[in-house]
Each structure stands twice: as structure tokens, then as C-alpha cells.
Subunit: 278 residues, 2 copies
């Protein structure tokens, strides 16, 4: 049963993704803000968002942000590029929203000397052209090359980050970007940092890799510094929740967050008005 | 708008899957029964079923069968192993239901001389133990070895059936079954026939491969012969429908069914009472 106890709850930052990918963002935020509380919502009943239409993604995002807002978060991080492509507002259901694309685009423009920037993403993210559009808004001279990498998510989810097959897939997807001599590559899907070592092996030391988690942490830091977002004064807590089966999620949560952080996972139903994370 | 025109519609066989995998079953049925009409429903808004919980799959299956029944089909083929694992009835919403597991289990028992049978499937299918249970009901002496192949679906969906990377993945998943000296392997996911050539290269000529589409066609043939299911006397028609974005589905439908069969795809919403395929 839902009780109206959000007043007494620590004011957490909500982090939401279709599944486990957003855990790479959560990990970056926990590392950067160890005194903050977090609620993670993995919408595993509806993953993957990367192959869904904008209308379907919009409906799911709205439903999940509403659920986080009801659970009293002070802000929500949409830690999913496919979901971020459909977000047009700075606030939803009364709370500020951080999408991963704006800080990723800004970090890429800051990092690139040549203005030649590569984007790796799901089919939905690439098709949306969100990164090229926002990068060109920041630097109209930029040249942006996008590459959909549909096999990266299954490889990351299978925990194959150290596998020789992963290197072969990485070579295949990255070759077109290397041929265009990009000097910066955006990991435009929150799963991709899991494969970062393999990607870095192929790009070498002269190409900057932009990781959404770090870029969003920079933005939140700026909002803490300016007072736009209030720092927590309570003891930090972490709640992980998912909308479907928990076993496989738990395995990956342990891999990404470490076993200290991933200890218990709630199963929730955002469409049930009686369902609460607290 | 839905009109009650099911009486005037050709009595089609409904075929339903979470996405494109069931098209391999549809293709086998079209080849075997060229005078029958078919309605295909791909629940692409909710794919993949293979990673979902039994409760979620049960709810989706019920919703989709109800939709096909409303559209006047004379029978429904659940052309998805993950969905078939949750089906316990022979009829649903007033129409006979064909699941892929029973005929696959029967075909495996018929094909195996040694009684050592391998099952390839999604995590959900392997976890359900549906094949081992049904095979042991038919032959209590059988030894069944199961192997989850979570990368087969993305490889099949990427159209990588002739790719050297696919062979490497196939070797990896099949090695445990070869080590157990199975003489029969069930392709326990309707996507897997897309990779059949690559799988056959690894198994060699002495291991029988059981394909769900063929096994279900045998069962329907038997029901036509016994008069349990009525043959169509109308001109055959084919309707393809999906619950989400159609572009990627169309590409794969052309690959699997050929361009003559895959010409138009309807987008439908089974939960909308006004939505109809006819």
C-alpha cells in the first residue's frame, strides 16, 4: 500500500532506464555524489526502448517519471538515450529532468578539436538524429557521423566485455567512424560504457570517448554549485527497482555497481496507483 | 473502426509471435498450406518475450489471442517458444491453440535414436524446462541437455546468417551439446531457423535438427486430415500486422518471407476495442 510518506523520505535523485544500461550512469553519480540518495527504476517489462517507436517511448517515459515523482524524488535522470530523444521539457510532473543527450552533446563539442564527432547509439537514437542536431546547435561547423550498434547491448548484457568476439564486433562498428577521422566519439547508449575497454582498444589514445554518466554528473554538479538543485543532508540510501523479473537484472547490477551497492531489488508496477518504492 | 464483419471474412489461421521469429513458422505454414489464409500478429511493442516473467508473458499472450479471435481466425498458432511455455489450454477465447513446444517435443522424440536430445532456446524457454518435461513425458528414458543462446536472436535479427561471427557464436553455444553426444537438437526459438545453415555446419550431417515450423505444420496437417480443423475454400490471403514500428519488421519480413509475401504491414493495437485487422 502507498502511504503518503514522501515528506519523511530522504530527497533522492531518481534515475530511470529501460533496463540495466542506466546503471552505468547511476554508478558515475554514486561515485561523484556519495552523500546523495538514489532511486533507480529499470523498466525491464518494456525493454529494449531502442527498437520502439517515439510514441511508445513517450508514453513509457511519462509513466515512469510520474512514478518517480510520486515517490518524492527531487530530480529525475533519464539515463537512457532512446528515452532522452523524446524528452522536450526541462521539468515533468513537477520535477526537474536531466536527459543524457544534452550533456553528452556539450561534452563532445568541448572535447573535439577537429569538429569531427562520431556517435554510437541504438537504431532509435541514431534515427532520431538528436545528437547531430544538438551538436550542430552548439557548433554549426561540426561534422557528425552516426553509427547504429545494435549488437552492443546484447554483448554488454551477456557480460562479454573481455571477450574476443566483442573486439570483432567493436572493430566492425567503429571502422566507418575511424575512416572519417573523427577525434571524439560519444558512447550514445548507457550500455556502452560496459564495453568501454574494448572500444578504447580500437580507438586508441587519440580519440576522446564521451561517457554520458560523467557528462550528466558534471551538469548535476553545476546545478548543486548554483543552488538550482539542493544537496542532501540525510544519510545516503540506494533503492533499486524494476518492473519485471529481477534475477538477470541483479546479476548485471552486481557486475556494474559492485556487490556492496546491489543487494536488494524491489519489483514495482508504475501503473498501479497503490505501488510505491518507499 | 471495428465492424462485425468476421462472418464475411475468409477463415484465416492466426499466427502470433513477439516479433519476427514467428515468420519462420508462418513461412513453413504458407509453403505447406498454400490455399489457406493467414493473419500474422507480431507484438513488436513488447518484444522480446524471452527475457520477461511468466506472468507478464501470460498477460500478453491472452491479450493477443483475444485480438486474433475477435478478428475471426479459425485457429491460432503461438509461434513463439517463450509464449508457448505459459500456455496450458487447448483452446483460448473459443479457438483452438497450437503451441510450438508440443509438436517440437514430439518431433524430437521421433527423430532421436539414442534418446540424447539437445534444446537450444532463450533464457525464458530454458528456465521453464518445458521441452525436457514434455520430452520425458513422451520418453521417460530420454536425456535432455538445454542451452540458452541469448545472442542468437540479435544475430538473426541483424540478418547475419552468413557471417563469420555467427559461426563463432554457434560453435560456442553448441559445444556443450556436442560434448554430450546428442543426436537430435531442437531449434527451440522461432528465430533460430534463420541461422539454420550456420547451425547445420557445426552439427554436421549426423545430428537431426528439429524446426518448430515444420513440426507444427505436421500437426495442423493431421488436424485437417481428421477433420478437426476445416480447410479453407476461399482464395488465400495474407495479412501482416504489428503492434509497434513497422520499418525494421518489414525488412526482416522480406528477408524471411520473400518480397512477394511481405508487401504491406498494418499497425494495430490489441488493447483498443475499436481496432481490427480486417
Amino acid at each position: 500500500m502507498m502511504e503518503d510518506n514522501s515528506v519523511g523520505s530522504p530527497k533522492a535523485i531518481g534515475v530511470f532506464d529501460s533496463g540495466v544500461g542506466g546503471l552505468t550512469v547511476l554508478k558515475a553519480l554514486i561515485n561523484r555524489f556519495p552523500n546523495e540518495s538514489f532511486i533507480y527504476l529499470g523498466d525491464t517489462a518494456h525493454l529494449p526502448y531502442g527498437a520502439k517507436s517515439p510514441e511508445t517511448i513517450t508514453r513509457l517515459v511519462d509513466q515512469n517519471i510520474k512514478f518517480l515523482a510520486k515517490n518524492g524524488v527531487k530530480a529525475a535522470v533519464v539515463a537512457c538515450n532512446s528515452a532522452s530523444t523524446v524528452i522536450t521539457e526541462d521539468t515533468m510532473h513537477g520535477i526537474p529532468i536531466y536527459n543524457v543527450i544534452d550533456p553528452g552533446a556539450q561534452a563532445a563539442v568541448n572535447a573535439s578539436h577537429s569538429g569531427k564527432i562520431g556517435i554510437l547509439g541504438t537504431r532509435a537514437t541514431v534515427k532520431s538524429a538528436s545528437y547531430p542536431t544538438r551538436i550542430k546547435n552548439l557548433n554549426p561547423e561540426a561534422k557528425v557521423v552516426s553509427q547504429a550498434c545494435p549488437l552492443f547491448v546484447p554483448f554488454a548484457e551477456e557480460g562479454l566485455q573481455d571477450d574476443p568476439l566483442t573486439n570483432l564486433i567493436v572493430y566492425r562498428y567503429l571502422t566507418p567512424l575511424l575512416q572519417e577521422t573523427v577525434d571524439t566519439i560519444v558512447l550514445g547508449c548507457t550500455h556502452y560504457p560496459i564495453l568501454k575497454a574494448s572500444i578504447a582498444k580500437v580507438t586508441g589514445p587519440n580519440i576522446a570517448l564521451v561517457d554520458s554518466g560523467e557528462a550528466i554528473a558534471d551538469q548535476i554538479q553545476a546545478d548543486f554549485d548554483s543552488g538550482k538543485l539542493e544537496k542532501s543532508t540525510d544519510s545516503p540510501t540506494l533503492k533499486l527497482s524494476v518492473t519485471d523479473e529481477t534475477d538477470f537484472f541483479m546479476q548485471l547490477a552486481k557486475m556494474i555497481l559492485g556487490t556492496d551497492n546491489a543487494q536488494e531489488i524491489l519489483r514495482v508496477n508504475p501503473t498501479d496507483p497503490d505501488c510505491s518504492i518507499w
